[in-house]
């Protein structure tokens, strides 16, 4: 009972602050001795697709593969890059040479020992456009990968790439797979992670089994059975009837109800992702900053968050990781001011009733549909006619992301905690994620400047200016950070270690089942 109470209290705190690696859970855990054995049955919210970690861009597949693969480097709770399969790493003073010392005695699931050749193979496979790796551009500036001995890898850059290390810690770019295992990764993923891949039945289940020779000590669980249950209420029913040990993504409207249920554990963490409303900068009305600011003024972010997320999140004027040094604390979201917005729109040449905007939202995120429906009401009050078009994920990607064929939409991003990754890719005019076609010379200049600013504090200041500029110009309307949620039976222990610091991936290495 005590532990449950604690969990509940701690989850309450989690609503307002990041909680990774807080000291207290460790102390509480220490009172219970982990036992080995048992298979955890996890109700996974999404369908696993491509199992090749290089080719898979979806959070769903990464969430599972995180347990099969280990990376050269990873991040700690404060999002500092730390060694993982590398024992240590060193960056030359000119920032062009990275030397990794590999951890000796690491074995892959096929029994082979990991050497520098595997690292070279993995990175070159990822870099090769023919692989179709989603992260291939991480290695864009890599001039050569040398392997002076079995446990040393030297990577030489053609030009400075400040975020290289952090990018290696993310999204599988730094995952190390055995030489020549590439062709079978899609059907039989294999790495050096704590769990071995056993089988995948499409749309039904992924089975993982403990890898006894994992370098950091074997996991407690015999295995993990990830049952894919995409219907939120069905997943919840499975947890309630005891069919499942654990589920991720509790339906947002049920979180508070479940937190009051003493027979279940609920873990929420903050943030899982940020959401923002996008306006296409090639669409003439949105080229006028007054229109974008007016649109920002139409929206009551807190009410929207309560409506769409049922309160499971916190509004934010900035997309920076809330506990990160670069977060600009001086920004405040514009309060709702419908009359002011009307006046501003009229001033910009759009009198009441003259703007007809199509808002494309993807059914992949049901709360985006709710958000859009609430927006329609406010926009109507402001004399703007908003029409919703629901898109499947495939259509959203092709219409909004690639073809930029939209007027307004919204999206969320999971793991862009690294400032360069975040601001350069999303807001620089050359950024890979700039699907709004934002072209702001000030942002371009600042994000380039940050790349060559070595001092961390100075760099953070540059990013604060970027945030100020995004807010001033209302390039996008940044809404909130959303909570992540896990529900579990009381028998599932070590839940605090499950969530990867990036907020999206789940790792079962330290999880165990009480008898």
């Amino acid at each position: 009972m005590k532990r449950r109470d604690f969990l509940r209290n701690s989850t309450a705190i989690m609503g307002t602050m990041a909680i990774f690696g807080t000291a207290i859970p460790q102390a509480v855990l220490a009172q219970e001795t982990p036992v080995t054995g048992g298979t955890l049955i996890w109700g996974h919210s999404e369908t696993t697709q491509n199992l090749d970690i290089h080719q898979t861009g979806t959070a769903s597949s990464s969430r599972v593969l995180q347990n099969v693969h280990s990376s050269l480097v990873t991040v700690d709770a404060d999002l500092n890059v730390i060694p993982d399969l590398a024992e240590s790493f060193e960056v030359s003073t000119d920032g062009l040479t990275y030397t990794f010392k590999l951890r000796p005695g690491v074995t892959f699931h096929n029994g082979a020992a990991m050497t520098s050749a595997d690292v070279k193979y993995s990175f070159e496979r990822c870099k090769d456009p023919a692989t179709g790796a989603v992260n291939f551009e991480v290695f864009n500036n890599v001039a050569s990968i040398d392997t002076p001995d079995d446990l040393t890898v030297v990577i030489t850059m053609s030009s400075i790439n400040a975020p290289f290390l952090s990018r290696l810690a993310e999204n599988g770019a730094g995952a190390i797979m055995p030489v020549e295992s590439g062709p079978t990764q899609g059907t039989n993923p294999m790495g050096a992670g704590p769990f071995k891949f056993v089988r995948y039945e499409v749309g039904t289940v992924v089975e993982l089994a403990r890898f006894d020779d994992y370098w950091n000590g074997p996991a407690f669980l015999d295995g993990v059975l990830a049952r894919e249950i995409t219907e939120p209420t069905t997943r919840l029913t499975g947890l309630r009837t005891g069919e499942l040990h654990m589920i991720n993504d509790i339906p947002l409207d049920r979180v508070s109800e479940l937190q009051g249920d003493a027979s279940l554990q609920v873990k929420t963490w903050f943030p899982l992702n940020f959401d923002f409303i996008n306006m296409n900068h090639t669409y003439p009305p949105f080229q006028d900053a007054r229109v974008r600011v007016a649109f920002d003024m139409i929206i009551d972010k807190e009410a929207l968050m309560q409506g769409a997320l049922w309160g499971q999140g916190a509004t934010s004027p900035s997309a920076s990781f809330p506990t990160g040094a670069a977060f600009n604390k001086s920004l405040v979201q514009r309060p709702q001011d419908i009359e002011g917005a009307k006046a501003l729109l009229a001033e910009a040449g759009h009198p009441e009733g003259s703007l007809n905007i199509v808002f494309k939202a993807t059914t992949n995120y049901p709360y985006h549909i709710e958000t859009a429906q609430i927006l329609v009401e406010w926009f109507r009050m402001a004399g703007v006619n908003l029409t919703i078009e629901q898109l499947t994920w495939a259509d959203w990607l092709s219409q909004c992301w690639v073809d930029k064929d939209y007027q307004m939409t919204m999206m969320n991003f999971f793991t862009l905690w690294e400032s360069d990754f975040l601001y350069y890719s999303v807001w620089n005019s050359k950024g890979a994620y700039n699907y709004r076609a934002i072209n702001d010379p000030i942002i371009d200049q600042l994000t380039e400047q940050a790349r060559i600013t070595v001092d961390n504090a100075a760099r953070a200041d540059v990013y604060k200016q970027v945030q100020q500029q995004i807010w001033d110009q209302s390039h996008d309307i940044i809404l909130w950070f959303r909570n992540g949620t896990i529900g579990a039976q009381p028998s599932v222990k070590g839940l605090d270690s499950v969530v990867h610091p990036n907020g999206s991936n789940l790792n079962f290495h330290k999880v165990w089942l009480a008898a």
Partner: protein, 313 residues
């Protein structure tokens, strides 16, 4: 014999047309699979590379030829999104759907035949009204609405059946049936109405025939007359009608399997459509159309075997 031969020839032609239509449809679908694979990491260069390696850049005729050729030689290719051989996926999922199709049909017949017989025997009485009203109610709600009600009542409130998922029958046959039951029941209720009507009208026709009067005159009990004599003659046409409902069923399983997270053909087809997994869409749509058409063929041939008059048409 010529009838059968003609019919077979037309089947081959229809199959060919099905491949053409399927291929045409999948090629005008917007969006593309390379984008789906890369998700938000998509960018022009990587997409181009991936498209190349997936063979999406080849001329349409080449792609069509490769597809049909592959199917004829048993090489159905790989699903782009699931990275598995399509033949393997389909064989798993067809089993799953077959369970639902057979089960829902059994449920529908088990309900429709007694109801229909009851209505025919008590023609124009309150029993007739009750029977046809029950049947109509079944068909008047979208079957996914029945599905929702089933989940609510039998899974959530009573806890008798699992609310979702699929279990491989080779793994655990009883559990497999339990998982298939609720979606089958929901589908069965939708099917029932038409079958009840058919049973009723067929029975009415048969009950008016000479041999029934003779049987009655011989002093056989009413029960024997109805269930042994009349129904035995009515069952053929009713099952024929049931066979023709297969097409309708394959449409409904798309929604039903999605609702119950029951991973069969309908689920697979919907996933393929959502993900623009062209080879998988082609294969699964083709298989569904082919199954529907072949079922109709079998039903037709059976009908000819039962009722020679058809050939004169």
């Amino acid at each position: 014999m010529t009838y059968v031969l003609n019919r077979l020839l037309s089947v081959i032609l229809t199959l060919f047309l099905i491949t053409l239509i399927t291929f045409a449809i999948t090629n005008i679908l917007p969006g593309d699979v390379a984008m789906m694979i890369m998700g938000t990491q998509s960018n022009p260069e990587a997409l181009a590379g991936l498209r190349q390696s997936l063979g999406l850049n080849d001329p349409l005729l080449v792609q069509y030829g490769r597809w049909v050729g592959g199917m004829l030689t048993g090489d159905w290719g790989d699903s782009l999104i699931f990275k598995k051989p399509i033949a393997e996926l389909l064989s798993q999922k067809i089993v799953a759907s077959a369970i639902i199709v057979v089960m829902s049909m059994t449920i529908a017949l088990a309900l429709a035949i007694p109801l229909g017989v009851w209505a025919a025997v008590h023609r124009d009485k309150w029993q007739d009204t009750a029977s046809s009203s029950t049947a109509l109610l079944g068909v008047s709600l979208p079957d996914f609405f029945w599905g929702i009600v089933m989940i609510l009542v039998f899974a959530r409130w009573l806890g008798w059946f699992p609310s979702s998922g699929f279990v491989d029958p080779s793994e655990n046959f009883v559990r497999a049936l339990r998982h298939a039951f609720l979606p089958s029941l929901a589908l069965g209720l939708g099917l029932m109405a038409h079958l009840t009507r058919m049973t009723r009208s067929t029975m009415i026709g048969i009950l008016g025939q000479e041999f029934i009067r003779v049987a009655r005159a011989k002093g056989l009990s009413e029960r024997t007359v109805i269930w042994r004599y009349a129904l035995a003659n009515a069952i053929g046409p009713v099952i024929t009608i049931a066979g023709l409902q297969i097409g309708y069923l394959f449409g409904s399983i798309i929604v039903m399997e999605t609702l119950f997270n029951y991973t069969g053909m309908g689920w697979l087809t919907y996933q393929a459509l959502l993900n623009r997994d062209m080879p998988l869409i082609q294969a699964s749509v083709f298989v569904i159309a082919a199954v529907v058409m072949l079922t109709n063929l079998v039903v037709d041939l059976l009908y000819v075997a039962i009722d020679p008059r058809i050939r004169l048409d």
